[in-house]
Amino acid sequence: MTSHDLRDVLNIPSDASAGPRPTKKQKTSAPRPNLKGLAREVQNLGGDNPIAIVPEVSIFKKRRVASRKPAARWELRAFTNSARADDGALLLRHWRRKTDDGCAPHGDSTLQDGEAQPGNGTSLDGEQKQQQSKAEVVEDSAYAKYNVQVQVPQYSEDQYHANLQNSDWTKEETDYLLGLVKEFDLRWTVIWDRYEFSPRVAGPNGDAATSTAVVPASSRPRTMEDLKARYYEVAAKMMAVQKAVQYMTGPEFQLYEMMQNFNPAQETARKEFALNRMARSKDEAREEESLLLEIKRILARTERFNEERRELYNRLDYPATDTDINSFKSSAGLQSLLQNLMNLDKSKKRKSIMAGPGDGVSPQTAVPGSAVSETGPGGGGGGHHRRESIAASASGNHRDSIAGTPATPVEPPPSATTGVGASKKKSSGGAQQVVERRKLTEQEEQIYGVTRHERLNPSGPTFRYEKINKLYSHKSGQQQQRITNALLELDIPPRLAMPTAAVTAQFEKLWSAVTALVDLRKVSDRLDSDIKVEEAKKAERDKVRAAKQSASGGGDGDLVPSVEKDNASERPPSRAGPAPGGEEKVAAGDGTAGGAAVAASVDSPTVIKEEQAGDKDKLGVASAAASRPGSSGAHKRSASVLSTTSDKSSKRQKK
């Protein structure tokens, strides 16, 4: 407290020239005495006033150690500033420590200074020398480097006419604007403040009318937005001219975009808003403040509501039926789907467990024991953790069930929030943890290709095309060749391109039909050869009989053509399967064959017997082929069946 302050307090006029202030200032700036033996914190308790109980140790000013070294020399050294526009014409001088080493010229100059001081008679040439040496060594100001300037777009006359024409702006005014921008380093407030463009009055030849017409139009006050818009327009266009847009670097392009998208109207509107905001009265300000508070409160509340609602929805899980199932069509997708379904199932189950003992209002509060205290305040976060832990444990169970063992409680993952509660639950309700797969509906099963087997193949899971290959491998090479030929006739590759379940099933059908056909042909071939043999025998016998008859005379010579006819009519259908007319012929041939057989049975019982057996075989095979879902009747022959099924399977394959 100085006398000055006292005067201030008492309102006594103080003489301004009396300046006790500086001493006070010095006092405050001086470091506080460091008291030994007292904790700094305790010292700080005292604030600005030193603690009274500690005796102030008077510290005397240390005696200055007189150094033997001579006093430091200083010199008034001239320097220039390269940031100045007058190329070093201004030589200012400041005091600098004199350096003995290296800078001999400096020493020289000061020496000459010293010489020049006492007697001016010699100073003329001395000064000249001094000037010379100074000119050689004048240092540059350390502050010159701070002289930075903004980059303002430059344009030539042609470029202006090509790119920058604007009906509202003349070239002179644009030049003026850019000059101001450069001068004031893009400080728009200052630019707008100093913007006083007065267009030149039209030249001597320009008549008064045009000049007066032009002047008021362009001398109307420009708003800051006008100026900015024009400048950004010019800058953006010149930027694009100098460097095509596609070659700009990221920041350059950003700048370009920003300048291009400058919207003066929006800026003006914003400023109007700001103006209105400033102009509101005290009551309005208070009202606005309270409204803002209210909004904040409402927002906070809705946030909580949303949180709770989301929590609720998470609990009420529902199968997402409307989602695309394409992701589940691969085996990996199926796997994950299965896991998901299991997780959902699991969580549902657990929730019901959790909600069980509680009142059911909030599942979180129903979590027993310490889990309440841990998950309760956590809110959504806690729920999330639980979900995670459930997923983890569910996946563990899933693996177990795949292995075929009954579900066993899995060690819960080390989750901070649910650790205790989860283990408690596990111990209490381990029995209820049996994995229960969700029942798929018929349709779903079809879609996912789920099939059920009583027991698995002893060889384990196989690929579908291997199954088909296995079918092949059971046949002899000749038969394989025949089957392949038959399939090729139907335009079906022997190896399926897309062996889906349905396709393989159909292919199997087709394949068995083809095998049956091949077998039938084998049988028919054998029969043919037999018949030939028998015929040969018969002819032999006939010869013998004719030889006898010629002796005795015989009457059943007309039987031979009928049998021959039968054979002839029987052969074509087996040879030409897909022929459309073959069906009727076969049917007709069958009938005639039957008739022929009956007729034949009259006089050649052995042959008839054989024929009947062959027919029965045929019919059996045919009926076996015809009893398949695609065929219409038992009387139809395999060829027709073949044709229809092959059509279908080929269609499927194309699909």
């Binding site: 202030r21 007058d86 001088r93 100001s141 502050y143 407030t189 707008w192 403040d193 400033m278 005290k282």
Partner: protein
């Protein structure tokens, strides 16, 4: 504990980017003219802008020479707008400050002092002859320019005319031979003194009150607002109050009192006045009266801090508060209670001002001249985006702003005017910092290392003529 003296062996650490080149700073105002070296915290020389003019045509400068003399007038080289009017005297007064008072006496160079001239008979040489060369004209090169070593930074009012600016650089370059010159506006410097580059400067000085927005160290011209509601106007208010109050208070300046006896409060003065043998000029008496009024302003006048305007119920409240006693030079003293608030109320409320008798239109305050109105008008002249920033950076400077309660009232008025915005008033606590705000700012600016590139050098002046000041000192 005393500070350790700076060791002379090491360079001072330039924490503020200073690089001193022994520049001079000159801050002329209507009431006082201040001068000193850049880098110092106070001006070394402060003299009144009033100067004595004797009948025989001599002008004498400085506070101490203004004493009653025969046929002696007191004049001011500036007009009430704080713009130099009498350039001849201004040159002399400034030279008196910068050369005679600030620079050390320098011996005449030996080549010129005549002592070495052996061909002289009596050894006594008339100075004029030495300086004259063979042609009889004064050789300019022989005349050593007085300020050839010091760059000069001058301040000016923001509304200074272009002509006055050119004249200023002409004088400093031609007459004094300054190597470099700069002209800066007072509000900018006041903002610098407060450590701000962007500020709304409220400068309540002697002759003018002005409000100016500064952005990045540049005056925003459209925001310049000024009014005469400043020290002199307040003096006139006090005069008017003294004239209207009962009993009427006579103004007797100190120099007229020869002898006085203490009297009771409110009693007429018991004084014997000094009798000069010559008539005292009115201007001298006015100058002396102004001193008395300044004292009254400093010790008695107070600004009603609020809440609300002073007029109305607050006036009754103020009447019940303890007043202040002021003793006139003639010994009469009186307690001032509510009046001391009322004289300053006109700064805020144009209806509360005392009507100036005989002052004509000059003393009357219009609505737009009050300080809140000035600030409002000033803010309307700047971009909307800048206004909140300015309002949170209000710099109060000028000696009239030292009135008790001024800042509180200003804060109250502004909060009422802009309720939603943050208002922060920066007013230096030290009296001298408020009085010499612009000089201190000039001192800071001229000692900055980065300022070296700004100076207008002699070469630039020679090439471009005085018009360069308009181009450079924006």
């Amino acid at each position: 504990m005393a500070q350790q003296p700076l060791s002379s062996a090491q360079q001072p650490t330039d924490i503020y980017g200073g690089d001193e080149v022994s520049a001079l700073v000159l801050d002329p105002g209507y009431c006082h003219t201040r001068a000193g070296y850049a880098g110092e915290e106070m001006p070394k020389q402060v003299i009144p802008s009033f100067y004595g003019h004797t009948a025989d045509g001599r002008d004498i400068f400085g506070d101490e020479v203004i004493i009653p003399r025969a046929s002696f007038e007191v004049r001011n080289y500036m007009n009430r707008d704080s713009v130099v009017e009498d350039w001849d005297v201004a040159t002399k007064i400034w030279e008196h400050l910068l050369v005679k008072r600030l620079q050390p006496e320098r011996p005449t160079p030996a080549s010129k002092n005549g002592l070495n001239n052996v061909n002289d008979n009596d050894g006594d040489v008339a100075m004029e002859d030495v300086l004259k060369d063979e042609n009889g004209g004064i050789d300019a090169s022989l005349l050593e320019k007085p300020l050839a070593e010091s760059p000069l930074l001058m301040t000016e009012a923001p509304w200074n005319t272009a002509k006055a600016r050119e004249k200023a650089i002409e004088i400093s370059m031609e007459n004094w031979g300054c190597p470099a010159f700069w002209l800066s506006r007072t509000p900018v410097l006041a903002a610098f003194a407060a450590g701000k580059a962007t500020a709304l400067v409220v400068d309540i000085g002697g002759a003018n009150a002005s409000v100016t927005a500064i952005h990045d160290g540049m005056v925003l011209k459209r925001s310049i607002q000024r009014s005469p509601i400043a020290g002199l106007w307040l003096s006139n208010q006090i005069r008017a109050m003294w004239e209207t109050c009962e009993p009427k208070v006579e103004i007797v300046p100190t120099f007229m009192v020869e002898n006085k006896k203490p009297v009771e409060a409110g009693a007429p003065a018991d004084v014997r006045l000094r009798n000069f043998g010559f008539p005292i000029a009115d201007s001298f008496r006015a100058f002396e009266e102004e001193r008395l009024l300044t004292e009254f302003k400093e010790s008695v006048v107070e600004v009603w801090r609020g809440p609300g305007r002073y007029q109305g119920p607050n006036e009754d409240f103020a009447r019940s508060q303890p007043g202040r006693v002021f003793e006139m030079p003639d010994g009469s003293n009186q307690m001032w209670r509510e009046q001391r608030y009322k004289v300053a109320e006109g700064m805020w409320d144009e209806t509360a001002a005392y009507p100036i008798t005989g002052g004509g239109d000059e003393g009357r305050v219009s609505k737009g001249q009050t300080i809140p109105a000035l600030i409002k008008a000033s803010l309307e002249g700047v971009d909307v985006d800048l206004r909140p920033n300015l309002l949170s950076n209000i710099v109060v400077t000028g000696s009239t702003s030292l009135l008790n309660g001024f800042n509180d009232r200003l804060n109250m008025e502004l909060t009422a005017m802009y309720p939603g915005l943050k208002i922060k008033i920066h007013a230096a606590g030290l009296t001298s910092e408020r009085r010499f705000g612009s000089w201190i700012g000039g001192s800071i600016l001229a000692s900055l290392g980065t300022f070296h590139q700004m100076w207008i050098s002699k070469k630039e002046y020679d090439e471009n003529g005085p018009g360069i000041v308009e181009k450079r000192c924006k």
